[in-house]
């Protein structure tokens, strides 16, 4: 058991790409931590540098109280599960799980014990004599997890653990993975490009871009208060509305509407801002279709309706051509062409700087809040 401490870490590839660029990060003991970002953001390189599969160019990686920056992968006491599992196809399930233990010169008996113990916990008991090629995707993933867990490492690293499973299985595996991590209490870092996966699984999320961390926080913080427009755009299964606006008379002028700004902000008249509202946090004002000037709501005509099952994503087009998305319960789905007036729920409007795209915040930024086990 151990936490991970990363200080001013850079990983530079031979072609000069700084995949990880001067990054600081602390993962607490027992934490389930997600590295989230679009492809090419450096999240996998960061994970591989923790594992020792990539050499750190600058900075340090500490696991527990040991500096492992220059250690070989096998000496770091980390276990890694690969995206394609990398099971050994010529060995049976039992051999796959026990082989790393044999390499560590464990006795035959304790090898078998460890293999049986971990495989029982992952309901692999009946599959021990099969070969990986004879297993389903979900079973292969559990074997990969068993192989990683059996070595009793300090830290578990998962590279895109769910991306090779089909959609149905992915949800099952997600629940399973969360329970497993909770039961083991093992410090776990996983990489994903799927924001829903990160939100669902992690205690804390680091949203990465260009080799550094844009935002670090709990799933709630990252979802509800993205610190900049990049994170705002990336998080959420329906994209956040990011609308160009202007401060006028202490109000936010956006898409022809005047919205009340969040409380406690020092707003300068005439500065450009970006208003961020999630589609889920917009409400239709009943009976306000014909109102025109001066109402604190966005007016527009329904342009597109996308059925999402329980809810529908409705896109309205405002007079100035701005498109605004909102979700409504499926049974209240409006017809295309209907004129709607929508307002953000109280406290759900976020303002970003028009130039830098950073969240305008009254409170001191809380995105670096420490991980708290009791809250998780």
């Amino acid at each position: 058991m151990a936490g991970i401490e990363i200080a001013e870490l850079s990983t530079v590839y031979p072609n000069g790409v700084r995949a990880v660029d001067g990054l600081d990060l602390t993962v607490a003991d027992g934490e389930f931590f997600a590295l989230l970002g679009p492809s090419g953001c450096g999240k996998t390189t960061l994970l591989r540098t923790m594992a020792g599969l990539e050499q750190a160019s600058e900075g340090a990686v500490r696991i527990g109280d040991r500096d492992v920056t220059r250690l070989d992968p096998g000496a770091r006491r980390v276990a890694m599960v690969f995206q394609d599992y990398a099971l050994f196809p010529h060995m049976t399930v039992a051999e796959n799980i026990a082989y790393p233990l044999r390499v560590r010169r464990m006795s035959k008996v304790s090898q078998r014990d460890a293999a049986e113990r971990t495989s029982a916990g992952l309901s692999l008991g009946a599959l021990l004599d099969r070969r990986p090629g004879q297993l389903s995707g979900g079973q292969q993933q559990r074997v990969a997890l068993a192989r990683a867990i059996a070595v009793e490492a300090d830290v578990l690293l998962l590279d895109e653990p769910l991306s090779n499973l089909d959609a149905r299985l992915r949800l099952e595996a997600r629940t399973f993975l969360k329970k497993l991590q909770r039961d083991l209490g093992l410090t776990t870092v996983f990489v994903t490009h799927d924001q829903a996966e990160a939100l669902a699984l992690a205690d804390r999320i680091a949203v990465m871009e260009s080799g550094s961390i844009r935002q670090l926080g709990s799933p709630k913080e990252v979802f509800q208060r993205p610190v900049d427009t990049f994170v705002a755009n990336f998080i959420g299964s329906t994209p956040m509305n990011l609308l160009d606006g202007l401060i006028a008379d202490g109000m936010v002028e956006v898409a022809g509407a005047r919205l009340a700004p969040p409380e406690g902000l020092d707003l300068v008249e005439g500065t450009p801002v970006v208003a961020g509202i999630r589609p889920e946090y917009l409400r239709v004002v009943p009976g306000a279709q014909e109102v025109t000037e001066g109402v604190a709501g966005i007016l527009g005509a329904v342009a597109i309706v996308e059925n999402l099952g329980v809810t529908s994503l409705v896109t309205i087009e405002c007079a100035d051509g701005t498109l605004v998305g909102l979700t409504v319960p499926e049974q209240h789905e409006p017809a295309v062409g209907t004129r709607l007036c929508v307002v953000p729920e109280a406290g759900r409007l976020l303002l970003y700087g028009g130039e830098d795209g950073l969240l305008l915040s009254a409170r001191p930024s809380d995105h670096s809040a420490e991980f708290d086990r009791s809250r998780a």
Binding site: A51, G52, L53, D72, P73, G74, A75, V78, A79, M80, F82, D84, A86, L87, F88, P89, H90, Y99, P100, V103, R104, R131, P132, G133, Q134, R147, V151
Partner: protein, 218 residues
């Protein structure tokens, strides 16, 4: 049939020598070829370079020249005592050194079919380079190259006839003895060919059964 029956001891001892030549050099070149392949993928540049030079040199030289070298030039270097270095030993040395260059390339191509992830998983699990090669990579590599490996061994079996030119009385040398005895050499040669077919068939069968047994679903 008369040719065969009348000269049976000649045929038998010839083929016995062929099989002996083949078995010894097959084992030798499989071992040496695999070691060379490991060197060619090793992270140490000197090892890689040495193995590459070896393969280039031996693979591009006609086998007859290699035989000539070990039969006539090598003894003059007096590295080993000429008494222990008979033509038979010279033939085996030439066959092993020549064939291992081909085996090396076959095995290396097999190593290249093993996904990089296998090597990375091995490193992450704490395997040394040697353990990774011998327990993870090579078993998978050899399984995927059974057909070209057997082809190389069949070529080796037939290459043993070159030893006839260097006074090793193997199957290919039967013809000259037959002609000295005044027997019909054409018929004798047909029998020799038939013997080779008989020798190759079990290897083909071996290849098939290995392919079936070792087939690995990824």
């Amino acid at each position: 049939m008369d040719v065969l029956v009348n000269n049976l001891p000649l045929f038998l001892s010839g083929f016995f020598t062929t099989i002996k030549l083949f078995l010894i050099s097959a084992v030798g070149s499989l071992v040496l070829g695999t070691i060379l392949a490991m060197l060619r993928v090793s992270p140490v540049p000197v090892f890689r370079a040495a193995a590459t030079v070896y393969v280039t040199l031996l693979r591009n030289t006609p086998l007859t020249l290699v035989f000539f070298f070990f039969a006539f030039a090598f003894p003059l270097l007096k590295i080993v005592s000429p008494d222990s270095f008979s033509y038979f030993v010279a033939a085996i040395t030439a066959l092993i050194l020549y064939t291992s260059a081909f085996i090396c390339e076959v095995v290396r191509s097999g190593i290249n079919t093993v996904p990089v992830g296998q090597a990375e998983a091995s490193r992450a699990l704490g395997l040394s380079f040697g353990q990774m090669l011998s327990n993870v990579v090579l078993p998978q590599a050899l399984r995927s190259v059974v057909p070209p490996l057997v082809s190389t061994l069949i070529a080796l079996l037939k290459n043993t006839t070159i030893a006839a030119g260097f006074s090793v009385a193997e199957a290919g040398a039967i013809r000259s003895t037959l002609s000295e005895r005044g027997a019909d050499t054409m018929v004798g040669l047909l029998w020799v060919a038939l013997f080779f077919v008989v020798l190759v068939i079990p290897m083909t069968l071996l290849q098939r059964s290995l392919e079936k047994r070792w087939s690995v679903a990824r």
